[in-house]
């Protein structure tokens, strides 16, 4: 920062103006002043509406605080956090959330990459196809849940009925069986978000330097060698970006789970978000729900850090820097 040049000592100032700005100001000084006031409203807004509630949530998580019994509010230290890990249902929700996130993001990365490779050639056909492929990502997630709930129902569902009759899967339907429900939710998530993953990866593919790819071809590398030795290493930043985005979104999954199974049967599809919403806004167990929310934030931050570290490592190993 060049603070010293803006003290008004130097002759490089504009013509003095009247009014409260009459003190001669350097160009950068008024610019900085202006930019500060352009940024301030949004920063203030997010601090008041975003960060303040988060801080309150952090505070509430150390209390036994139930809206239905406000008189019994009491500071209980870390008891809410301990309760999460002692409760079987909550432990199940943590495991479910991790299973959901890891499986669905890996599947999406794999299929998304395949799709991006298919769409790599820049043509009108591919652009139009991509536009249509992105429709699942733009549909209300709530409606997505309803669609699959209707399709997979064992009694009248177009898919569910025939599956149940052919003896494939549980008789009550895939979404109402504790063994299959989570897997169905994973597949729904893949249906919804694989195209978006492909889109992010495609943007990475299109920005690869053409001469490097051409050089690989000219040197007689096979298609597989070109893929593993040239495309994949160069794509690491895009892959990382797509992974971070989708991991964080998948970890916060709420809409499709809440609509299709509501966390059931027997907590088999309960995720951290669904658990927190139920505890906080249906049972008004504010302290406990806040603790779950904070744990979720902690997990997300840890995963982002791990992903960052893994990519740094891989980058060093492949690109040697």
């Amino acid at each position: 920062m060049s603070q010293t040049s803006s003290t008004g000592v130097q002759p490089r100032t504009q013509t003095p103006r009247l009014g409260w700005l009459s003190r001669p100001r350097s160009f950068t000084d008024s610019r900085r002043f202006f930019l500060f006031f352009m940024a301030a409203p949004a920063v203030l807004y997010v601090l008041i509406v975003g960060v303040w509630p988060l801080a309150q949530g952090f505070w509430y998580s150390f209390f036994r605080y139930n809206l239905i019994r406000p008189a019994r509010t009491k500071f209980i230290g870390l008891d809410n956090y301990i309760a999460i890990f002692e409760d079987r249902g909550a432990r199940q929700a943590i495991l479910n959330t991790f299973q959901f996130t890891l499986t669905s993001v890996s599947l999406q990365l794999f299929f998304g990459f395949c799709l991006a490779m298919l769409l790599w050639r820049d043509s009108r056909f591919n652009r139009i196809a991509l536009a249509f492929l992105l429709i699942p990502a733009t549909i209300t997630p709530l409606v997505v849940g309803l669609i699959y709930k209707a399709l997979l129902g064992a009694d009248y569902g177009l898919i569910g009925y025939y599956l149940a009759n052919a003896g494939i899967g549980p008789r009550t339907g895939l979404l109402t069986d504790s063994g299959t429900a989570l897997w169905v939710l994973i597949l729904i998530d893949c249906w919804e978000w694989t195209p978006l993953m492909a889109l992010i990866l495609l943007a990475g593919l299109k920005s690869l330097p053409a001469d490097v790819l051409e050089a690989g071809r000219a040197d007689g590398a096979t298609a597989w060698q070109r893929f593993t030795l040239i495309v994949l290493p160069l794509m690491l930043p895009s892959i990382f970006l797509a992974l971070v985005l989708r991991t964080m979104d998948a970890f916060r999954v709420f809409d499709s789970v809440f609509v299709t199974t509501g966390g059931g049967p027997n907590d088999a599809t309960n995720t951290l978000m669904v658990l927190a919403v139920k505890e906080g806004l249906q049972f008004f167990n504010i302290g406990y729900a806040s603790a779950i929310g904070n744990i979720t934030i902690l997990f997300i931050a840890c995963m982002a850090a791990v992903l960052l570290l893994v990519v740094r490592r891989a980058d060093v190993r492949i690109n040697g820097k």
Partner: protein, 273 residues
């Protein structure tokens, strides 16, 4: 990618076409459900052929106050979008043009805010709105949606403005243009497509969201998304009616995303980097 055979291109296109069709089948099914008569929705075995009818659309006007639902959805989306852009675009610009070493840090702060799970701030926010008496109004939803969306817009416009050269604005400033003038007459027009992408995403996020309105609105102020959820589970309402109602909640956004696809792609790729 040079020298590829026509056969390979053909194979690729067939694959893409097949994938697209399979991916879109559930959506097509949802749309067609709305034109089926109720007795054919619950037929055993389920069938694909049916006599098209508009009964379901007539039904939903009986079950729901569709106009009021639409009004709520539009009010929430419009309010959120306008406020988010008013807050986010100047902030993104300022952070991109600032020479302060804290600017990038602030930009990442906005990105991090977007990644926080909704529930963590929703519960304290719910209590806050209850205390100031906004619970149950559109404002409660608009206020919290604006927080998330203006964080998105700030980050997106930050990366967009940073990629634009500053020469033009600096030239305008030396020519005697005011700071605000340089922003509105030079920077904003240059970033037009980024701003359109922001509008698209803000409308999409706030139109599709149902967690916030579910807990923050009442019967009179609930938007379409909440109505869809509560309608499901009441016994008079069939999948057909839900399909018809889903027309209103999905088709505007899908059409918008299709027609503004260029901006959608920009928002989904440029906005996050």
């Amino acid at each position: 990618m040079a020298q590829v055979s026509g056969r390979q291109v053909f194979a690729e296109r067939t694959a893409v076409l097949l994938i697209t069709i399979v991916m879109l089948l559930p959506v097509v099914w949802l749309i067609t459900t709305a034109y089926k008569p109720s007795n054919q929705i619950f037929s055993i075995p389920p069938r694909l052929d049916f006599q098209p009818t508009l009964d379901q659309f007539r039904n939903i006007f009986g079950y729901f106050d569709v106009v009021s639902l639409l009004r709520s959805s539009v009010a929430i989306s419009a309010g959120t979008t306008v406020l988010s852009l008013l807050l986010g675009v100047p902030c993104g610009y300022a952070l991109a043009r600032s020479r302060s070493r804290y600017a990038t840090g602030f930009a990442y702060f906005f990105l991090a805010i977007r990644m926080v799970p909704a529930i963590a701030s929703l519960i304290p926010f719910y209590l806050m709105m209850r205390d100031i008496g906004l619970l149950g109004s559109w404002w409660a939803v608009v206020i919290i949606n604006t927080m998330l969306n203006c964080a998105f817009v700030t980050w997106m416009m930050f990366s967009y403005f940073r990629a634009l050269p500053r020469d033009m604005e600096e030239a305008a400033l030396t020519d005697g243009c005011t700071q605000l003038g340089a922003f509105f007459k030079v920077a904003v027009p240059a970033a037009r497509s980024g701003i359109i992408a922001c509008v698209l995403f803000c409308v999409m996020f706030s139109w599709n969201d149902f967690l916030y309105p579910m807990f923050l609105t009442t019967l009179d102020s609930k938007p379409l998304s909440v109505a869809l959820l509560t309608a499901y589970g009441t016994k008079d309402i069939t999948w057909g009616s839900l399909g018809a109602l889903a027309h209103f909640s999905t088709i505007p956004i899908v059409l918008m995303a299709l027609f503004l696809n260029r901006y959608f792609v920009q928002g989904a790729t440029n906005g996050v980097q």
